[in-house]
């Protein structure tokens, strides 16, 4: 069974993340503390603004959005760029390329264990806490279903972007520089630090033509939408699907071309 060997990688990943139990406790505690900081900050911001709704978002909307964005980030961050970069520098990539699966899949499934643990230990608890703490401000209906689909596509888009950025490391030794540029662009333009609704009009429009907002803004907006309007939701999911396909093809092409170039040069 082909899928079985992928799940073997998932399992190994889960086992490995359990090895560092203190690290996990620290992570959970740290996250809670961080979310508290976010809460106080936005409460202060909203209370000084004098109005309950700013840019179409209430305080609890913004809070839920940002808290879940952080949780999504923690769960989706796969350090792919670092992984690829380090593998290239140490030469381990040669071994990985010899494995009987495509490198891109191998890397993804190796990390999927952590992805699963992160989902259960950081995203789910955060989500439940947010649901309880906001006393029903998170609408629980068909939007949940769309949200899940949207998150799956967000993971794929995020991974494709990461993988493309990682491929650049075949050309330069500067992993830190490449990674930080990617991270900064993605976090800002995807609406992970500030909801896209707050962006000025021109910027909103520009961001609309880029794939990044499909990673954070789209799933979270869908989640917060109490009465999902079909055309609207399908438009959002359609855009995501488009970016999924486009970026997967693009990253795969980029990898192939780069790899050929590298093998010709002898690395």
């Amino acid at each position: 069974m082909k899928i079985k060997r992928y799940f073997a990688l998932t399992r190994a990943g889960i086992l490995e993340s359990f090895q560092y139990r203190l690290a996990m406790l620290v992570m959970i505690a740290g996250n809670l503390l961080y979310l508290t900081v976010v809460y106080f900050f936005w409460k202060a911001v909203y209370s000084s603004s004098g109005s309950d709704v700013v840019n179409g978002m209430t305080f609890s909307d913004t809070l839920i959005y940002l808290v879940l964005a952080t949780a999504l980030f923690n769960f989706m961050e796969m350090y792919t760029v670092w992984e690829i970069g380090r593998n290239i520098q140490s030469g381990k990539i040669v071994l990985d390329l010899l494995k009987p699966m495509r490198y891109r899949s191998y890397l993804f499934w190796s990390y999927s264990g952590t992805l699963a643990t992160q989902f259960v230990f950081t995203f789910l608890p955060t989500f439940i806490i947010v649901c309880i703490a906001t006393k029903g401000a998170v609408p629980l209906g068909t939007n949940l279903f769309y949200f899940v689909i949207s998150v799956v596509m967000a993971v794929i888009i995020n991974y494709a972007v990461d993988f493309m950025t990682g491929t650049i490391c075949l050309y330069t030794e500067s992993i830190w520089g490449i990674n930080i540029m990617k991270q900064v662009i993605v976090l800002l333009l995807s609406g992970a630090t500030i909801p896209v609704a707050f962006f000025p009009e021109g910027m909103k429009k520009a961001v609309g033509y880029m794939p990044f907002q499909s990673i954070y803004n789209t799933p979270l907006t869908i989640l917060l939408n109490e009465k999902p309007d079909f055309t609207e939701v399908f438009k959002a999911l359609g855009t995501q699907a488009f970016w999924c396909a486009a970026l997967l093809i693009l990253s795969s092409l980029f990898w192939k071309v780069s790899l050929r170039k590298i093998t010709v040069n002898g690395g």
Binding site: R11, I14, L15, F18, Q19, R21, M24
Partner: protein
Amino acid sequence: MSEIIEIKNISKEFKVLNRHEGLKGSFKDLFSRDYKIVHAVDNISMSISQGEIVGYLGPNGTGKSTTIKMMTGVLEPTSGEILVNGNVPYRDRAKNAQDIGVVFGQRSQLWWALPLVESFKLLKDIYQISDDSYNSIMKLYKSLVDIEPLLHKPVRQMSLGQRTLSDILAAFLHDPKIVFLDEPTIGLDVSMKSRIRALIHALNKEKNTTVILTTHDMGDVDALCRRIVIIDKGKMLYDNDIGHLKGFFGSYRTLKIRPSGDIKEQSEKLKNELDRFSAAVSVDNEWISVLINEEKAKVMEVLGEIQKLHDVRDMKLEEISTEDVIKKIYEEGVE
């Protein structure tokens, strides 16, 4: 002879978590408080004189590096006393560090991006080496190895052999009393190994530096050490001359013969014929090996007996190698 290292009954214990297997087990481990005590080093004593080269041997993970860490002051023993050049290492790590040099076979301690000579200059400042001593040791280095091409090469561009060589030179730079070498020849080719051994030998002679050598390569031991210490599972197995070690088992020699006729058949016959010599007979594709305990039978007698009964076309006599002896000790211990 003055004692440079004095170790009295040191032990070191670690607390480690009992890990469980499988997905469920590792989930349990998240909350487990089930620790066990591991005795990494268990009541070891020895004293080492100035200028000795001591081979420190033992299978992997048996407390060798723990002992070295205690001698270098990185680790405090759970119990027991340890004196290195009159200092208690862990109590004043920095002072102890001035008297010692350390080389790890695979972990360079030099500045990765710098040419070797710049690393040397930094070490000169760090160890506060006077200009005179620095110049004289550089002169010595130049007479021992072809150091010129290395001096201006960044460490990251060196081959493993060049890096090890440089690391050894760096460890001797401040004229330490003791140098610890941890598998210095690991991963090197044969000619590089012998160059490294020659260098260590020469430096030990020239500076009368005590050398503690851990290795798995018996070639290192044969070339350098007169004394060896063997530990296993934290306990001392052997501490004596290497000659004595051979005498220990060395009453054994292996007689190899090639008779005419079918080698398997002949060996079966030999087994019966040599019964009274209590010699062990084994066979491979080319040779019949007869392991003789010289306390029980003379090699010449056995050979004479064989010649009487068989047509011997070829023969050779082999001493038991250090490697074989060590293997025997690891496997059987010392009575």
